[in-house]
């Protein structure tokens, strides 16, 4: 979720209920102060917001009627996302972001956001909810991205199931930016296993068909597996399944859990200590790696992984929700470690320790 800032702002009287969206620019009159420029705002071209610590030139923010500034895009970060919708057709046991009803204004806000962004954007995440439930919104974003940021890396997070419709997938693939990767979540190698996690009848079959369709359309595909108590015993089978059936995917990521939302509610059903499955994970990762596949481990700190897994561990946690714990202060590998989800609160994996550089 985006970061919020408090600011005392003299707001004009007729601010819309949702506030308005604008881009932070430098105030040319008062050095060091930020100005939010907002061409669509009826009364003024721009709004002086003072020198709010943490906001950068190029950030896109929403200013709410109560004076709260919500940052929608941090121009200094590579972890920015567009939230296409909050709704989803699955209800995964470990979802950190439980779905709710769709609000169509989200789409117009996203369009506005993309239009405001500086041209030098390197990385755009597209997520939800389930983004592909709204193919028209996606093609709208794609066309702006193709115009304004043709070289940006675009990652779209999806459960893949709406892509089982070949025509939808074809429309999206034809409109897709050049450097786009479909990051498809697939939490099991059989229908029974996957459905026990995502609670959607035939959802796994559709996701599989979605991946096949993307491959037919020569799209770049990443497969993401969140490791929970349910699928942990089958990590090696899942790896073998992906290699045998989807050898065309460009990347495979095994992910540790973020304990918030549904994941917090279902904690006892889904939580497994990473230390209980890292040996299996190690074998699965090595199998994929020696088979020539690109593979990564997300969200599991180095101190819990066997050393053979370290080359595959990434600093995967988005900067705005990443943290370290007190034990990490003495750790000499901290600068290459993913750390922890601040959103998981006190629910930390067991076995955290400070590592020495050998």
């Amino acid at each position: 979720m985006p970061k919020r800032f408090h600011a005392r702002i003299p707001l004009p009287r007729s601010v819309p209920q949702d506030g308005f969206i604008g881009k932070v620019t430098r105030n040319v009159f008062a050095r060091g102060d930020n100005v939010v420029s907002c061409a669509s705002f009826p009364l003024r071209k721009c709004l002086w917001i003072g020198n709010v610590h943490g906001l950068h030139t190029g950030d896109v923010v929403r200013i709410r009627p109560d004076g709260m500034i919500v940052r929608l895009w941090d121009s200094s970060s590579l972890h920015n996302c567009i939230y296409v919708t909050n709704t989803c057709n699955f209800k995964c046991t470990m979802c950190p972001q439980p779905p709710c009803a769709d609000n169509p204004t989200q789409h117009t806000d996203n369009i506005r956001l993309l239009q405001l962004l500086d041209d030098n954007v390197e990385m755009i995440g597209i997520t939800g909810g389930e983004p592909t439930l709204f193919p028209k919104r996606l093609t709208d974003y794609f066309s702006i991205i193709n115009d304004k940021f043709p070289n940006a890396r675009v990652e779209i997070l999806t459960n893949g199931s709406p892509l089982a419709d070949f025509n939808i997938t074809k429309t999206l693939a034809l409109a897709a930016p050049f450097n786009l990767c479909w990051c498809v979540s697939l939490h099991g190698d059989t229908a029974a296993l996957a459905e026990s996690i995502m609670h959607s009848h035939n959802g796994w079959d559709k996701a599989v068909q979605g991946i096949i369709n993307l491959a037919k359309l020569q799209q770049q595909i990443e497969i993401r597996i969140v490791v929970t108590k349910k699928n942990a015993p089958y990590i090696e089978d899942i790896a073998l399944f992906i290699y045998r059936n989807f050898p065309f995917v460009s990347h495979i990521a095994f992910m540790g859990q973020e304990i918030i939302g549904e994941a917090l509610r279902n904690y006892s059903d889904i939580w497994i200590e990473p230390s209980e499955y890292v040996a299996l994970l190690d074998r699965a990762v090595m199998h994929l790696h020696t088979s020539g596949m690109n593979v990564s481990i997300y969200n599991i700190p180095l101190c819990i992984l066997p050393e053979s897994c370290w080359p595959f561990a990434r600093q995967s946690i988005s900067d705005w929700k990443q943290c370290y714990v007190s034990c990490c202060e003495k750790c000499q590998r901290r600068d290459t470690c993913c750390g922890f989800f601040s959103t998981s609160g006190e629910r930390l994996p067991k076995g955290i320790q400070a590592l020495q550089r050998s």
Partner: protein, 470 residues
């Protein structure tokens, strides 16, 4: 509700059962698990086994059958991908003359001055014109003999024509010359370098073994000259531009370690264990051995190579690498001599000095011995379509699918194996008749049995498993 998907199986020596499905997925089951599976008592299977059987498409839940079939179809298609491209390997027999008279020669080479068996440059050009009608994005032209270097003007005529045509065709074009290297000279070296022509040669082992059957028409040691010319070729062309093949005779069987040592000391990164073919002079000269003897050499050789790798010498046996790739990866493999349907004519084709086209060298040899039934046509009298849609080729395709050949159809290894149609024809008079007691089938079965047994040995797989990616 689960149901069985198609698969074949075999009881292994330890009592376990190996099962392999249509797409090359495999699983090893205990005898009791297998009997539960075969009787469809799925509830008796441990949950992890049940899960693996479903994940690897040996069984499917009725409700999700469509997905299992869709995935299996994709896998099956991937493994057969080589059938979707037209013929890529084109072999030209530019001469039958040779400066050697190897005792196992399968083409029955001729005296070095028997010029009437030379391919004329204009025939080579005509052949190249035909080759470029193939839609394959990769074209590999291999010059064979006799010794290809002995008719160099024809080789270069073909190379020049191919390069000319490729200016517009823009295919990935490769040239290989098959030679014992003896005739290598400065002029030929300059051409090889200028046109990036690779060399494929023969090395049977250390001097004693090599010279035993690779006999020069003039006196002297073949091995000695080979070594000099190999060094020369590598110096001018680059170390990796020369590949060598090893032919197994009755005399190599007990010396496999020495043969491997010879390859290692000569700086080769791997070896290809090739068994003798029962054609041409090999038969006549009684250099033959039973498959059990070949297999014992093969096994000892691989075990020796594994030890070398463990000691830090990176070295590969390419036939095992091919089988490993078939067993451990989902990909199609382009090895002409072990395909189903047969790769003869579909993946590779051979042109005789007259311009006659044959699906394989064996078919050309049969024609020379008076049985021309496998001739696909002639580049002067037939069009590309005539040749590559010839009844001969259709017959080979129809009759060489392991799925339909009696004996092969129920073999657990058939997904990884292939058909040697001409060996079948020679042995039985029918290209579709595989003799289960024949050399080929016994050799293949023993190798597969052993490899699947060794798959449980992590030390072995740490070396051999990685060959799948070679």
């Amino acid at each position: 509700m689960f149901r069985l998907l198609p698969f074949e199986f075999k009881r292994q020596s330890g009592g376990t059962v190996l099962a392999v499905n249509e797409c090359g997925d495999f699983i090893k089951l205990s005898a009791s698990d297998f009997s539960a599976l075969s009787e469809k008592h799925f509830e008796e299977l441990p949950s992890i086994i049940l899960h693996q059987l479903e994940s690897r498409h040996f069984i499917a839940d009725e409700e999700h059958l469509q997905t299992a079939v869709a995935l299996s179809a994709n896998k099956y298609r991937s493994r057969r991908e080589y059938l979707t491209v037209s013929t890529a390997l084109h072999m030209l027999v530019v001469t039958l003359r040779c400066n050697h008279k190897c005792e196992y020669c399968q083409v029955s080479s001729k005296e070095a001055d028997a010029y009437k068996y030379d391919m004329k440059p204009d025939v080579a050009e005509k052949i190249v014109d035909l080759i470029f009608q193939a839609s394959s994005p990769v074209i590999k032209i291999e010059f064979q003999g006799g010794d290809a270097l002995l008719n160099w003007p024809t080789v270069m005529a073909a190379v020049h024509r191919a390069e000319e045509l490729n200016k517009t065709a823009k295919k990935e074009l490769e040239f290989v010359a098959c030679t014992n290297l003896h005739a290598l000279n400065d002029e030929i070296l300059a051409d090889l370098a200028a046109h990036r022509i690779m060399l494929s040669t023969s090395l049977d082992g250390p001097c004693k073994i090599h010279d035993k059957h690779r006999i020069m028409r003039t006196d002297g040691s073949s091995h000695k000259i080979f070594c000099e010319k190999l060094a020369l070729a590598r110096k001018y062309l680059g170390h990796d531009k020369v590949n060598a093949l090893m032919t197994t005779t009755v005399d190599s069987i007990d010396n496999v370690e020495a043969i491997i040592d010879e390859y290692v000391s000569m700086g080769f990164e791997g070896i290809f264990f090739r068994s003798l073919n029962p054609y041409g002079d090999a038969h006549k000269n009684n250099l033959y051995y039973p498959p059990e003897q070949y297999f014992s050499m093969f096994k000892r050789g691989i075990e020796y190579i594994v030890r070398l790798n463990k000691q830090g010498t990176r070295f590969v046996e390419y036939y095992t690498a091919l089988l490993m790739r078939r067993i451990l990866t989902p990909f199609s493999t382009g090895f002409v001599d072990l395909q189903s349907p047969s790769g003869a004519g579909v993946s590779g084709v051979i042109y005789d000095y007259t311009g006659d086209v044959y699906p394989a060298d064996e078919a050309r040899m049969l024609a020379r011995m008076g049985d021309a039934r496998f001739k696909m046509g002639n580049v002067y009298t037939n069009t590309f379509k005539d040749i590559f849609l010839s009844d001969v080729l259709k017959e080979i395709l129809h009759k060489s699918c392991v799925e339909t050949i009696p004996g092969c159809a129920t073999c657990v290894y058939r997904t990884y194996c292939g058909v040697d149609v001409f060996r079948n024809y020679l042995e039985t008079g029918d290209i579709a008749n595989v003799r289960m007691d024949g050399f080929f089938c016994r050799k293949q079965t023993q190798i597969f049995d052993w490899l699947f047994e060794k798959m449980d040995d992590p030390d072995f797989m740490e070396v051999v498993g990685k060959w799948a990616e070679v």
